[in-house]
């Protein structure tokens, strides 16, 4: 980390002081409309008459911090880190604090049900009662379902509240109402990691628990900026570094995490797979790999037909129905059914199929290693713009350090072919025998949360299951293709919850122009009058989590499950989404299907598919607010080398993807790579990474957050800026054929040339003009659709930047 010399002088303090003065100017605009978080009184007086309630903050940072909430006279006056059985998880952050004190009591809160009275987008609203709201909604939903079919009414959730209800309630209400669920995993832009992880391991995601880094000697992070995005987990990284772990961060940005690392590898955006292929080339050439691990624990020794790329099965040559894979006998080199003999990693022969055709066969490994052989460090370097000697050194270091851990995250998954980097990383881990090993592994994300979602019982998700009702599901990332064409059936109403789609969805202009006109009902449950409400017909006031009756919350950070206790009564006329859907179900005559919040929580826990979740200590959960799922403290994913795949092995080779040319983990250029012909017009890759200051749009406008992060900036490399005559602080326009956004530039050395970044999450009003959601596309990816569903690629968009004017804008 080097010598962080503090050349702080009186002069720099005065400079900083000047910045503070500017800050106070910009902040003063709030004082008239914003109540102070706490009454002006000496701090110690505040503690008298305070009720303490343990609850859970869960805004999709995935940390799920427990909060000890101080409530006085029915108002939140303070939050502190709540206690966990393992005190290392007692934690909180700037967002959780600001959320509790300022978002809960924001002047932007949706206080009452609001009905649109002007044109869509005009911002004219009428306060109505809940009764009127339900009348309106019930009438509209009935009309739509009668006219176009039950499936014409759809529901969609996102991650605005990362609990069980937040994630799954749209599916349940859609089923109760016989409507359509619009899935959210792809359009969320988080799915490409899973698209790689799931077919290979049988798990959507898993990862080593953070404390396992204490066993690690070398960690390589691909696209992981935990210091901003998983802030409260970073203490484990710094602990591990104090324990001697070396940290290498691969990222086009000199992120806050890269700033802490021993080595930063600045990579061209979206080319991580090329870097990893180059590393594997070095490892194989130097014979540093572990063939026995590949033989024992992966599907690469299985024999494939070279003509089709499909696995050779017993039935193909012996007749019958056996789907068993074939391998080469280790001693004789003869073909044998898998499992009957110790097998080899490599082999080549010709076989006669049942139909008499003679085909050439080899092992999947032969094909994979042949592909890797093309990726010399020089070729990889030409693609990913990391020097060849750096690739070689990193490869040797990874292959010769034990144990060495790889972590992948959203930074590499947000390109159109974002699954490729993760598939390459899984292969690299296998090559060096690192899966299932303490202090090693290829971690995507662990913890309870995704296990809970994947394990959610169908009886709760689909209360009509007993009737044999089949769920109607439409892939959310396909909505631009399907809804305008009435495919696969007409959709004429969407009821959103937990989703500020207006700032977070791809190509929002397309939603406004092509989807909204099709919709006869846009209903939104929201806490704040944010951009999601702009085009809505009706906005319903949703509770903050402090007001909710209860909720069940997992986390990506650890193996705890938490119970969210109510801290304060719902403010104004806000209701919990669960209650809103209970009441509309009742109004529509489906009340029997819904039940209370308590019923739901008990039904979910009692019927979790996974017994480690189902058999938790419910009494402890409800009383203490936190209990541990039944995973051992030293849990290591795949430690027994059992994968949840059809073969039970780590399935590196994917025969089903042969038709797309991706049976082998490959690298292809991002769809809007900055080497694409389109880059002549729009030369810069546009990233929009998450900041430490907000989780999506949730905290971006809160006064304390704005004090420390007053406005959006576009990060541009100083050379790219110079070419365009842009200086730090200049007003610039970022644009492409899809739209534009106008904001100030942060000219920096901390981003690679050829790409720019704007932190995501800002509201439209925080830009001078436009919004970053206008710049991105939702091009479908057939490979991803074949595995799960297309993933939104927010970092895979070309743009140009031009200067508008000098210096600071006048207020």
């Amino acid at each position: 980390m080097g010598d962080q010399s503090m050349k702080m002088t009186r002069r720099s303090f005065i400079k900083a002081c000047a910045a503070t003065a500017a800050l106070s100017y910009s902040a003063s605009q709030f004082s008239s409309v914003f109540e102070p978080a706490r009454p002006a009184a000496a701090a110690d007086d505040i503690t008298k008459g305070v009720k303490l309630v343990r609850t859970v903050c869960a805004p999709n940072c995935t940390n799920s911090c427990g909060q000890l909430v101080h409530v006085k006279d029915g108002r939140i006056v303070k939050v502190e880190p709540a206690e966990f059985p393992d005190p290392r998880y007692n934690r909180i952050c700037l967002k959780g604090i600001s959320n509790a004190l300022q978002r809960t009591y924001s002047p932007d809160r949706v206080k009452y049900p609001m009905l649109r009275v002007g044109e869509r987008g005009e911002g004219k609203w009428k306060r109505i009662s809940w009764d009127e709201a339900y009348d309106y909604l019930a009438k509209k939903i009935k009309e739509i379902q009668t006219k176009y079919g039950d499936g014409a009414m759809a529901w969609m959730s996102m991650t605005g509240d990362y609990g069980m209800f937040g994630q799954a309630i749209s599916r349940r209400i859609a089923n109760v109402m016989k409507g359509t669920l619009l899935t959210n995993l792809g359009i969320m832009g988080d799915l490409a990691c899973n698209i790689a992880y799931f077919p290979a391991t049988g798990m959507l995601q898993d990862g080593h628990p953070w404390p396992d880094l204490m066993n690690t000697k070398l960690a390589i992070f691909f696209g992981c900026n935990y210091a901003e995005t998983s802030l409260n987990d970073t203490r484990f990284i710094w602990d591990a570094m104090e324990n001697g772990m070396k940290l290498v961060v691969v990222d086009p940005r000199f992120s806050n995490t890269a700033a802490k690392a021993d080595q930063w590898i600045a990579i061209r955006p979206g080319t991580d797979a090329a870097l990893i292929l180059g590393m594997m080339n070095v490892i194989l050439k130097k014979n540093l790999h572990k063939p026995q691990f590949l033989i024992d624990n992966t599907n690469v020794p299985f024999v494939i037909r070279t003509d089709t790329g499909q696995f050779l099965r017993v039935k193909d040559i012996q007749g019958g129905a056996s789907e068993q894979f074939m391998v080469f006998d280790a001693a004789s080199g003869e073909l044998r059914p898998w499992g009957t003999t110790p097998h080899a990693l490599s082999g080549k022969t010709k076989v006669r199929l049942n139909d008499g055709k003679e085909v050439e066969v080899c092992t999947a490994w032969d094909r994979i290693s042949e592909y890797i052989a093309q990726w010399t460090p020089e070729k990889a370097s030409e693609v990913c713009e990391v020097p060849a000697d750096v690739i070689t050194e990193l490869a040797v270091e990874y292959a010769t350090t034990e144990p060495a851990a790889i972590r992948v995250s959203q930074g590499i998954n947000r390109y159109w072919q974002g699954h490729q980097g993760v598939r390459a990383a899984l292969l690299l881990g296998a090559l060096c025998g690192n899966h299932g090993k303490k202090g090693a592994g290829v971690s995507w994300a662990g913890g309870t949360l995704f296990k809970m979602i994947a394990s959610a019982p169908s009886c709760w998700l689909n209360p009509r299951e007993k009737e044999g009702y089949e769920e109607k599901v439409v892939v959310g990332s396909h909505l631009f293709e399907l809804i305008p064409k009435d495919q696969p059936w007409p959709i004429r109403g969407i009821w959103f919850n937990h989703y500020n789609y207006a700032t977070q969805m791809p190509n929002y202009n397309r939603f406004v122009k092509e989807i909204a006109p099709k919709l006869e009902l846009i209903a939104v449950n929201e806490q704040l009058m944010n951009d999601a409400t702009t085009y809505a017909d009706i906005v319903l006031p949703a509770c903050s989590w402090y007001e909710q009756e209860a909720e069940l919350v997992g986390s990506w950070s650890n193996y705890y499950i938490q119970y969210r206790h109510q801290c304060i009564e719902p403010l104004w006329e806000a209701k919990q989404d669960h209650t809103i859907y209970a009441e509309i179900s009742e109004r529509m005559g489906y009340g029997e299907y819904w039940g209370s919040v308590d019923d739901s929580i008990n039904e979910i826990i009692d019927n979790f598919v996974e017994d480690k979740l189902r058999n938790i200590d419910k009494k402890e959960l409800f009383e203490k607010g936190v209990t541990k799922a039944l995973y051992p403290d030293d849990f290591v994913p795949f430690a027994d080398q059992k994968y949840f795949t059809p073969s039970g092995k780590l399935e590196i080779y994917q025969e089903g993807l042969e038709q797309y040319g991706e049976a082998v983990p490959v690298f292809e250029e991002p769809i809007e790579s900055n080497r694409n012909p389109k880059s002549k017009k729009y030369p810069l890759t546009f990233m929009n990474v998450h900041s430490v200051f907000t989780v999506h749009s949730q905290h971006a406008t809160l006064p304390w957050i704005k004090e420390i992060n007053p406005e959006p900036r576009v990060d541009i490399n100083e050379k790219d800026a110079e070419k365009r005559g842009i200086k730090n602080g200049d007003l610039v326009k970022v644009f492409n054929d899809r739209g534009h956004v106008v904001l100030r530039a942060r000219v920096t050395k901390g981003i690679k040339e050829g790409c720019i970044n704007i932190y995501e999450g800002y509201w439209k009003k925080q830009f001078v003009d436009g919004h970053l959601a206008y710049l991105t596309h939702m091009e479908l990816n057939p490979v991803q659709d074949a595995v799960m569903e297309s993933n939104y690629a927010p970092y895979d968009n070309l743009v140009e930047v031009e200067k508008i004017s000098d210096g600071r804008r006048d207020k």
């Binding site: 962080q4 007692n90 934690r91 304390w704 920096t748 050395k749």
Partner: protein
């Protein structure tokens, strides 16, 4: 023996998230526009962090600046009303009820720590969360720091966690040439 309470801040662990700034504002009811715990980046700014150095050998780091709780506090000497005083436990305390709002403390402090609370017309500054410390609790910035970069303890006690850290790790004070002998220390 009297105590010498202090913060010891580990710059290797600080990630510049500004949770300390916000936690302090909540705990101490600090008005918008001023701060008792400012986090300066390597360019000496409070926001829009940018690395310095030559690509790709860049540096990006942060320095959280609470009150230095100096052993020779010039603000105390300058305070005409007795609102500022050095306590036996080492805390440089500001009694806002006695402050007359003359701002001499802001003028003399080499660290620009005291800031003017325009709502109350008086100075405002870090008290090391004296109200918490008196109850045996740690300052709010310490318990909220996500990176666990801020330690609190008694520098006068050689067996305290902070004393042990200082004996083990390279450390420094800000602007030592000012001669104020800050108790706030930085590990680097």
């Amino acid at each position: 023996m009297s105590k010498k309470y202090a913060l010891v801040i580990d710059l290797k662990r600080c990630v510049g998230c500004r949770t300390c700034t916000v936690a302090c504002k909540m705990e101490n009811n600090v008005p918008l526009g001023i701060s008792r715990m400012r986090v300066f980046n390597n360019e000496g700014n409070l926001h829009f962090d940018r690395p310095t150095g030559n690509y790709p050998d860049l540096k990006l780091y942060w320095t959280p600046v609470p009150c230095m709780h100096c052993e020779e506090p010039v603000c105390v000497k300058a305070c005409p009303s007795g609102a500022l005083y050095k306590r036996d436990d080492g805390i440089v305390y500001l009694d806002k009820s006695k402050c007359v709002g003359c701002r001499y403390c802001s003028w003399v402090c080499p660290y620009d720590v005291p800031q003017f609370d325009a709502e109350q017309g008086v100075s405002d500054k870090c008290t090391l969360c004296a109200h918490r410390v008196e109850k045996g609790e740690k300052p709010m910035c310490v318990i909220c720091c996500p990176a666990r970069a801020i330690y609190f303890g008694d520098l006068g006690d050689p067996t305290s966690e902070v004393s042990k850290l200082l004996s083990k790790r390279k450390n420094k004070v800000l602007l030592p040439e000012q001669g104020t002998h800050p108790q706030t220390r930085y590990l680097f």
